[in-house]
């Protein structure tokens, strides 16, 4: 059976997901929600990598291995990011981005 949904469909879908995540990263004021939007963007990139791996190099699996490394970095990023959010929350009692201006000069 032929699968008529092609590479373009997956690329357009992941482009839409990436743009939704980007809009969320720009507009959200809650830091935890901002991390969630970052995860949306990383998932969109993973869909792109695996779609390319499937359609362009079906037997080499390079894109899938790249996606595994993206997942590893995403897990590390969430762990460190939420630790930093907790650490600032202890001193500021807030998760609003407006109050996270400790590094602002």
């Amino acid at each position: 059976m032929m699968f008529s949904v092609g590479l373009d469909h997956y690329l357009i879908l992941s482009a839409i997901l990436f743009c939704i995540g980007l809009v969320g990263v720009i507009t959200q004021r809650n830091v935890i929600k901002l991390i969630m939007c970052l995860e949306i963007m990383l998932n969109a990139v993973n869909i792109t990598l695996i779609a390319f791996s499937q359609y362009i190099t079906p037997t080499l699996l390079t894109g899938q291995i790249f996606a595994i490394f993206v997942m590893v970095v995403a897990a590390a990023e969430v762990a460190v990011g939420i630790a930093i959010v907790f650490s600032i929350y202890r001193s500021r009692e807030s998760v609003d981005m407006e109050n996270f201006n400790i590094l602002k000069w």
């Binding site: 059976m1 008529s4 949904v5 373009d8 469909h9 690329l11 357009i12 879908l13 482009a15 839409i16 990436f18 743009c19 939704i20 995540g21 980007l22 809009v23 720009i26 507009t27 959200q28 004021r29 809650n30 935890i32 929600k33 969630m36 939007c37 995860e39 949306i40 998932n43 993973n46 869909i47 695996i50 779609a51 791996s53 499937q54 359609y55 362009i56 190099t57 079906p58 037997t59 699996l61 899938q64 291995i65 996606a67 595994i68 490394f69 997942m71 590893v72 970095v73 897990a75 590390a76 969430v78 762990a79 460190v80 939420i82 930093i84 907790f86 650490s87 929350y89 998760v95 609003d96």
Partner: protein
């Protein structure tokens, strides 16, 4: 049939990702994010990436969403939600422009598809590539990265 599943998953993924941004209650936003992760795992299954689908469910649905929910429960004013920023229209315009540019680039590129059949099972080839075929050093670096991330999180959160 597979087309129908693709479009169904696409509708679920887009609705869930828009809900993550729009829903004010952050706990519901986290549940929508979990739904997005599950639908992305469905896309991986459609793309014959069975190992990646399992890893997606394990890492994203199992670990990262639990971390995010714990973070929501430990921060007090997070439940009520915060209003969006003032420049949400500018952000929407930027996102729409980027989407138009990306779609223009995608639709005007002709990819050379080899047409060979994809691998039926990917777990064994991925294992052979990761540990035998030039990716050993990146795997070790990833292990060191995860260890340093754990140590960094502990060091940041330790009582002074």
């Amino acid at each position: 049939m597979l087309d129908l599943i693709f479009y169904l998953l696409a509708v679920i993924a887009l609705a869930a990702s828009i809900a993550v941004i729009m829903v004010r209650d952050i706990f519901r936003a986290a549940l929508c994010l979990i739904m997005l992760f599950m639908s992305v795992a469905g896309f991986f299954l459609l793309l014959h990436a069975d190992f990646l689908a399992i890893v997606q469910v394990l890492i994203y649905v199992g670990a990262i969403s639990i971390l995010i929910i714990v973070a929501i429960m430990l921060t007090r004013d997070a439940r009520h939600g915060l209003p969006l920023d003032n420049y949400k229209y500018w952000a929407g315009a930027v996102g729409l422009l980027l989407l138009i540019a990306l779609a223009y680039g995608i639709l005007n590129t002709t990819f050379t598809l080899p047409g060979t059949a994809p691998l039926e099972q990917t777990i064994q080839p991925i294992g052979q590539q990761l540990f035998g075929n030039g990716y050993v050093l990146p795997v070790e670096i990833a292990a060191v990265l995860l260890l340093s991330a754990i140590l960094g999180a502990i060091a940041v959160l330790r009582d002074k």
